[in-house]
Amino acid sequence: MTHPSLTGLRVALSGGTSGLGLALVRALAARGASVAFFARSTDRVAAVARDNPGTHGIASDVSKKDDTHRLAMRILAALSGLDVLVNNASSLGPVPLAPLADTACEDLEVALATNLVGPFRLTKALLGALGAAAREGRPALVINVTSDAAVTAYPLWGAYGVSKAALSHLSRIWDEELAAHGIRVLAVDPGDMDTPLHALAVPDADRATLKRPEEAAREIVALIEEEAVRARGDTSRPATA
């Protein structure tokens, strides 16, 4: 099956310098999307932007409230608006993983700040732009990357699992509320991948059994393409007047 091109689609994603984020930057850019990615490390952001010409790398920490609108402004300036936001960056919580009863409150807060509150704030700051995209008949989509730890109560994955469960539920409620405005919010579980995050969590995992992040990226790109086709073809959208 041939996929439609993503030329002209404006995509922003958190993370982007390793694991699934990096695979997404490459896959989206290869399909012609305009990509802005943001991560904490200035050096790694610059390196990935250099290796993927045409992409926009922004050094920013999504867990910091004061940076939210400044980051949003740079994304919107870089892409001249926005069609798709992928909240991909995640914090594991305590490393090594710990039982909830041994998890420091601060570690739980860090996981919630990065995996829940940060994506909530950034999505909110960018909703105006997504609404504008929807009114113009463009796709308007938020993808929140979650995990099966959001559903299954894995011992030791408390801080992470709790934050991802909340992110999943946030996605469902937001999707209900924003459907009438032409904006979709989807939670996507990419599966257990061979990424730096997984290596931190399970250092002795058999990597051969883990999914390649490139494969998960292909699945997410396919989902974005599906939504883009749906948006173009769906004339029943509330759009403008």
Partner: protein
């Protein structure tokens, strides 16, 4: 009237004075704007995000401290960020009234300005010691990064607390283009969008580079608003045409929306799609082609925004409305109360 001094976009007690074309007045809760409009109306808002356009720095030739307020730009293209029209103040910050701010040191073409991480040069003086065009060094990405890191929202002394970006971005904020918030849009939240839709009121947006509202100098204020670029999406032009064809009203949320829609107006009351530059002033004697009513902040008659209202209503109606705002203690300025003003009816030729 008194200035609203707290940076709250939607105070629960915000009010809306509805002024009909015949001059009838009624007060409603501003949160009930949707109910004050009619099914078939189209509400058009400005979705410009506000740039943190106040940049503190140094005039390098004299080492004097200055504040630059970005105030104008040729286009809304994101890459078109090297050259700006800018207002320059001497030492001080927003806590000092704009009228009391000292002038900058004498500026000359070629002077270097150091503005946090940004470097700029003065290109031209624009007929006033406070108004210049400047050019930033670096790529668009470097310039946006510098503005994002170093800039602060433009602010006036009537709001004491330093403004954060979230204080000035409306719920609709999209393309970063405004120098000061398109504050009429503060009224809108997502709940209101749902109520508009439920009532059968259409909603559309355009992007207009809302400019600075005050320079502190009467001679410069008389030149406001400066030329402002705007962008009208095809969907918005379609919505305007559909509304006009079916006899609904086009309601502009703010003076910037009025400027853009009238700037792009065609003879038949529809609007041209795409980029444009709003020039000149709308005021007494301007024939409005598109906009049937305006929602705007409560203004003192001395305010530069007030002149635009004269295109909608005659002096008698405006004086009555102003007296009513005064009597009921409406709050002025960007975080204040609002006015919904219908355009007086031009008798139709049969």
């Amino acid at each position: 009237m008194r200035a609203a001094t707290r940076a709250v976009q939607r105070p629960p007690d915000a009010r809306l004075l509805v002024v009909s074309a015949g001059g009838a007045l009624r007060h409603v809760a501003r949160a009930a704007l949707a109910e004050a409009l009619r099914p078939g109306d189209l509400l058009v808002a400005n979705d410009a995000a506000t740039i943190p356009a106040s940049l503190a720095g140094v005039h390098v030739p004299t080492l004097a401290p200055i504040e630059i307020r970005l105030a104008g730009r040729r286009s809304l293209a994101a890459a078109d960020v090297r050259e700006w029209v800018a207002l320059v103040f001497g030492e001080g910050d927003h806590r000092m009234r704009t009228e009391d701010r000292p002038p900058p040191p004498p500026l000359r073409p070629g002077d270097t300005l150091r503005l946090g991480p940004l470097r700029a040069r003065v290109i031209r003086l624009l007929g006033h010691q406070r108004l210049v065009s400047i050019r930033f060094a670096g790529s668009p990405e470097v310039i946006w990064e510098g503005i994002a890191r170093h800039g602060r929202p433009i602010q006036y002394a009537h709001v004491a607390e330093p403004l954060a970006m979230w204080d000035v971005w409306t719920r609709l904020a999209a393309l970063p283009a405004a120098f000061e918030p398109p504050s009429a849009g503060f009224v809108v939240d997502w709940g209101m969008l749902a109520r508009l839709s439920a009532r059968g009121v259409g909603f559309a947006t355009l992007t207009h580079a809302a400019g600075i509202s005050s320079t502190g100098d009467p001679a410069l204020d008389a030149r406001l608003p400066l030329d402002e670029p705007y962008l009208i999406p095809a969907a918005t032009a379609r919505a305007v045409a559909k509304t006009k064809a079916s006899g609904g009203r086009v309601v502009a949320l703010g003076t910037t929306v009025t400027r853009a829609l009238e700037g792009a107006a065609l003879r038949d009351g529809t609007v041209r799609v795409g980029a444009g530059l709003a020039t000149g002033r709308i005021g007494r004697g301007t024939r409005l082609r598109v906009v049937d009513a305006i929602v705007t902040g409560a203004h003192e008659p001395t305010d530069s925004h007030y002149e635009l209202l004269r295109a909608f209503a005659g002096d008698v109606v405006l004086a009555r409305a102003t007296a009513e705002l005064e009597r009921r203690g409406y709050r002025t300025h960007e975080f204040g109360d609002s006015l919904l003003l219908e355009r007086f009816q031009v008798p139709r030729m049969k």
